[in-house]
Symmetry: C2
Subunit: 220 residues, 2 copies
DNA sequence: TATTATTTTTAGACTTATCTAAATCGCTAA
DNA sequence: TTAGCGATTTAGATAAGTCTAAAAATAATA
């Protein structure tokens, strides 16, 4: 049975995201940028993760996550997202405050803690940012979703997730009144700059830049 | 502002308990036994805690906890006990399973997490083992309480806490039907071996050895 | 009080995770 | 085809927390 330290779990989770769920190879510098640690530290960590066979690592050529690595990354992601649900739903944190705390909580080692928490929360399928929560086997419920700026003029849909979970972006969405679950309709699109205007819940109209719209994911 | 690592917090908490809340001095070996680490490791840690002035440490002569140290220990204890309440009340852990997990959770660094959790739980005053939860200023609600074996024959009272929180002891209490909050009456005492017999909630009679009775705390 | 026993500390080693500085590799542009 | 640049790894250092073995200090006992 492979066990990972908290640091190893964090690196593996970052690698899973960078590799787009295992589809792409990842470089040392990619990981360095994501983890905000120096490339030298990353090299050392990649060697360790390679020895534990959660990644396939070739010196100077980057890495690929293994099937075992994917499984473990998904379990870490599962814990992280379940804790985020708890913090927002039960403790009334706002969705821009939970990432760091959930990270710390997700490293607490206990067989039953996450099962019981999951049960307590009613087996949530998505986290506060709309990201799917893998089940205990690592299976993920995929929802087809598109960036808001790619939705056709006149179409309706529902905001289901955000690509950017940074506090700055999330607080901006709070300010303008966009939220996960909102029903939207695209009422104007400007080709020139890619900006869009949407109607939220048939009430409020919001104008947003292409940049913002590209980070909002919609299910049509 | 003094900050402690998780290990330092754990040592300081142990020291607080060993010193009976600051009343007694504590030796290196005491701490070693409590923490299950070697005396050599303890010496090193005591030096660090001394430098941070949470204890007053004289080589070869043991230590005394300082006022600042007491405050910090009480905050760690507060977090630990609040998490224990959460695990038992909300996640349905049994009271013999929560200590380790609560320990890990209590080291998560976040200004607001414990405040919000405390609020969510309705500001509990006691943990699942009947131990008082210090408030955010470190103030503790003291309840006068006596070991069950020191209660007079014929007296009534209420079980309010346990001295021994080991899983083995707690599971034994579960088995015989003793629990925090139970109304009891001492219906027999044997001078010879110190054993007692009690009536729980005017229904069930329980016979217990002096050893067991001495670890049950009663408010008369 | 002198010797022995116990307690405590020091010295040196190991592990994990990080850094800086220096060396090395691989790719690309001349 | 090779010089040079950027990416990557290696080497060596640091910090925290632990250990074992040995030294030193204190306490107990004869
Ligand atoms: Mn997150
Ligand atoms: Mn999230
Ligand atoms: Mn406890
Ligand atoms: Mn407790």
């Amino acid at each position: 049975m492979i066990t990972l330290t908290s640091a190893e779990e964090n690196y593996l989770k970052a690698i899973y995201h960078l590799s787009d769920g295992g589809k792409k190879g990842v470089s040392t510098n990619d990981v360095s940028a994501e983890m905000k640690t120096k490339p030298a530290s990353v090299s050392d960590m990649l060697r360790k993760l390679g020895e534990k066979e959660v990644i396939e690592y070739r010196k100077y050529y980057g890495l690929h996550i293994t099937e075992e690595g994917k499984k473990m990354a998904l379990q870490t992601i599962r814990k992280h997202r379940i804790w985020e649900v708890f913090l927002v739903q039960k403790l009334k944190f706002s969705w821009d405050e939970v990432h760091e705390v959930a990270d710390a909580l997700s490293h607490v080692k206990s067989k039953s803690l996450i099962q019981r928490l999951d049960e307590y929360l009613g087996y949530p399928k998505f986290d506060p940012h709309g990201d799917p929560i893998p089940d205990e086997f690592g299976d993920v419920r995929v929802r087809p979703r598109l960036p808001l700026n790619e939705i056709e003029l006149g179409s309706t849909g529902q905001i289901v997730a955000v690509k950017d979970s940074s506090p700055a972006f999330l607080r901006y969405l709070d300010k303008v009144g966009a939220y996960i679950g909102a029903r939207i309709k695209v009422i104007d699109k400007t080709e020139f700059d890619g900006s869009v205007e949407i109607l939220v819940d048939n009430k409020k109209s919001i104008f947003m830049s292409k940049d913002v719209a590209g980070n909002i994911l919609v299910m049509v």
